[in-house]
């Protein structure tokens, strides 16, 4: 059966044009043009048809924390958010640090509602001591290695990891946090941590490691990707590194350009996240970094947690918040950027970092597409999210812009805002 996406405006890295998109029964785009017809017609009037979104930073929790999320439920949330590919973070239980676990993710991912690309840990068990078998995992398709959840503390080990990885065509991604400076902290250190009596981590805990890894990247000539930049200082360090021509890329999460540490005054652990919510000035710096190209991608850091864990005292609760189903709306409305810039940050730019083929919308390419209604108004209801968890910091917030349809390998996995399986 062929499907035509009718009446939308196609937006991709080549530009914007009014065109229908015909999807063949082979899962590829068959044609892009005017007045196309197919067996089935999906109304895309008033919508933008974009290459599918790509999330560089998704915690799918499987294996190990299936009560919080599974590859199936997380991929459903992703599809509803417009994603056709997600990079699954390796801080599972066990960690993604061996061929066996990578194969398990790929096997489960093959039935998912989007492409699931496992990232692997840099060190065995994310313990920061011994390198994982990077060449073996790279051969299985792993493109990103990270100990996310923690930074690699040893400068020597990080240097070795970068050197070793530099011949494999993979990228090391760092969660930048100096564990000594952030020891015992549960939020950003500053005005609010002082007032609320919660131990804080200074922005410098992040910036120290950003600086270290820029330097180590220069030393080893290996690419470094910076996960979830959250401080003005980090953004400036990456801006300067790029200006010097160093091989660095960076991402930022929607909560770091929409929320500040003032939210913690509610003591609701739904606002506990790592890196923590920062200041207004940091929010503005992250936005500026996204606008001027310093930051290459918006990545969700979708981090589901079981409700009972998020009802613990603030200092005992785990870090993380949901993101897959709200990222696009926030990016469309909070950044003040034209939609083609927003989609670049959500789709083709992260795709290049992840090694995902998300090219222009043209005949012969895989039909991984998302159809966005930029004016659709909706309200975030945690109970209606597809994630198995409920820890969205945007509960009750009204949003503008929503995914109408998502097409993955030619299959309409989201139709009129509803997941089809």
């Amino acid at each position: 059966m062929t499907t035509v996406l009718k009446g939308g405006e196609v937006v991709d890295e080549t530009g914007r044009r009014q065109a229908d998109v015909l999807i063949g029964d082979d899962g590829l785009v068959a044609a892009v043009g005017a007045d196309l017809a197919g067996d089935r017609t999906l109304d895309c009037g008033g919508c933008v048809v974009s290459p599918g979104l790509v999330d560089l930073h998704t915690h799918l929790r499987q294996p190990g924390r299936e009560e919080a999320e599974t590859i199936e439920s997380g991929s459903r949330a992703a599809a509803l958010g417009g994603y056709t590919a997600v990079v699954a973070m390796p801080n599972t239980e066990p960690a993604i640090d061996s061929a066996g676990v990578v194969r398990e993710i790929l096997e489960l991912g093959s039935k998912a509602l989007c492409d699931v690309r496992p990232a692997a840990a840099i060190t065995v068990g994310r313990a920061g001591e011994q390198l994982v078998p990077m060449a073996e995992l790279a051969a299985l398709g792993v493109r990103i290695f990270t100990d996310d959840g923690a930074g690699v503390q040893s400068s020597l080990l990080m240097r070795r990891a970068l050197e070793y990885a530099s011949s494999l065509g993979v990228t090391l991604a760092q969660h930048c946090e100096d564990a000594g400076l952030s020891h015992g902290a549960h939020m950003h250190e500053g005005e609010w941590s002082s007032r609320l009596g919660i131990p804080g981590m200074p922005a410098e805990a992040e910036e120290l490691m950003v600086h270290r890894d820029i330097v180590l990247g220069r030393l080893t000539n290996a690419p470094v990707h910076f996960l979830h930049l959250s401080t003005a200082g980090s953004v400036q360090l990456v801006r300067e590194a790029k200006a010097r021509g160093l091989r660095v890329t960076a991402e930022a999460a929607p909560h770091h350009f929409t929320l500040t540490h003032a939210e913690v005054a509610s003591y609701d652990p739904v606002f506990k996240v790592n890196p923590p919510l920062r200041t207004d000035a940091d929010v503005e710096a992250v936005k500026a970094g996204l606008a001027d190209g310093t930051i290459d991608a918006i990545a969700t850091d979708h981090a589901p947690h079981a409700q009972e864990l998020k009802e613990s005292p603030f200092d005992e609760a785990p870090c993380g918040m949901l993101g897959l189903e709200t990222a696009l709306s926030l990016a469309l409305t909070q950044l003040g950027l034209p939609i083609e810039r927003v989609l670049a940050l959500l789709s083709w730019q992260p795709a290049r970092i992840a090694g995902v083929d998300t090219g222009p919308v043209e005949a012969g390419r895989p039909a991984n597409l998302c159809v966005v209604d930029p004016s659709h108004q909706w309200t975030v209801d945690p109970a209606r999210l597809a994630s198995r968890s409920r820890n969205t910091p945007y509960a009750g917030r009204s949003m503008t812009g929503k995914v109408r349809h998502t097409v993955y390998k030619g299959e309409v996995v989201v139709l009129d805002g509803e997941a089809q399986r």
Partner: protein
């Protein structure tokens, strides 16, 4: 008002209402039978996740003097040890039909979470490093009792401000009542940011003492040494302890206060703690009356009088 979580909930008028009401309960406490039946039939439960015999006994005495029934939920010997969540614990207590829950917890913010889950009144009896509002109220009462008013008084709070819930509540309460507050501590024991705090900061205790109407000493905890916040207790005492020599810099009418328990010889010299202008035991006895006033305000029926 349903709950007392922060001094900020009260504001200046609310604090003064509590203090005015406390006068009446001080009078009750001095009777031969220091008891009134105002809260007969009401149940107050103390839920203490942190040992604090002094504060717990003070609240329970206050509740009993108002005729309320009291229950103690002792965390050490309870279902919490078996892994029960905070929410399940408070919902279980709520299901027993209680009117007020007095919460002490080592984590900042827990009373706010509890207040979201229960209909009963929640009283913050100390949360982490954050607040201890009834301590601040009894401190205000004690100062007012001795000095007539807090307006324009110079109050020095000395010691480990960073980790102190007493300091945070006292700063809010003292400044709301018009006092000038100076924090005196080494930089490692101050909060990382004092943005929005209406206080002065000094690292020179001698200088501050010469002008102070009240010097409020905080307990210096020994574990601060292992966190590299201080080189040694000896060095702390030498620079920030209220030694006998330093005590002489204080004016004769200036008050010496401490929330207890004291480390005699560390933040306060033994002789100073027993000096006539040290009002430390008076703080304790006023604590019961202040907590009676708080329970009365939160639990007494509309229009009820003493």
């Amino acid at each position: 008002m349903k709950d007392l979580l922060s001094i900020a909930d009260l504001g200046r008028d609310g604090i003064e209402e509590v203090l005015d009401l406390t006068d009446k309960f001080v009078e009750v406490s001095e009777r031969r039978i220091p008891k009134v039946p105002t809260l007969r039939g009401r149940t107050v439960v103390s839920l203490f996740y942190e040992d604090s015999t002094r504060t717990r006994l003070s609240f329970e005495t206050a509740a009993k003097r108002l005729g309320a029934d009291t229950m103690t939920f002792s965390v050490a010997s309870s279902s919490v040890k078996k892994g029960e969540s905070l929410r399940d614990t408070v919902e279980t207590i709520q299901a027993m039909g209680v009117d007020a829950v007095v919460v002490r917890h080592g984590s900042s913010g827990v009373p706010w979470q509890v207040a979201n889950w229960v209909d009963a009144s929640v009283i913050n009896a100390g949360d982490g490093w954050h607040e201890h509002p009834t301590q601040a109220l009894l401190d205000c009462y004690t100062i007012r009792e001795r000095l007539g008013s807090l307006a324009d008084k110079r109050i020095a709070i000395v010691g480990d401000i960073k980790h102190s819930r007493v300091a945070r509540s006292d700063v809010l309460a003292f400044t709301a009542l018009g006092a000038h507050v100076t924090l005196v501590a080494p930089p490692t024991l101050l909060p990382p940011s004092l943005e929005g705090w209406p206080v002065d900061v000094s690292h020179d205790l001698d200088d501050v003492l010469r002008k102070a109407d009240v010097v409020y000493l905080l307990r210096m905890q020994r574990e601060r040494m292992t966190e590299a916040l201080l080189p040694s207790l000896r060095e702390y005492t030498a620079h920030f302890g209220l030694t006998r020599e330093r005590f002489r810099l204080l004016g004769e009418s200036a008050l010496v206060m401490h929330p207890g328990p004291m480390n005699r010889g560390v933040e306060i010299a033994a002789e100073v703690a027993d000096a006539p202008n040290a009002v430390i035991t008076r703080q304790v006895s006023n604590g019961v009356a202040v907590r009676m006033a708080v329970l009365f305000l939160l639990l007494a029926a509309e229009g009820e009088t003493l």
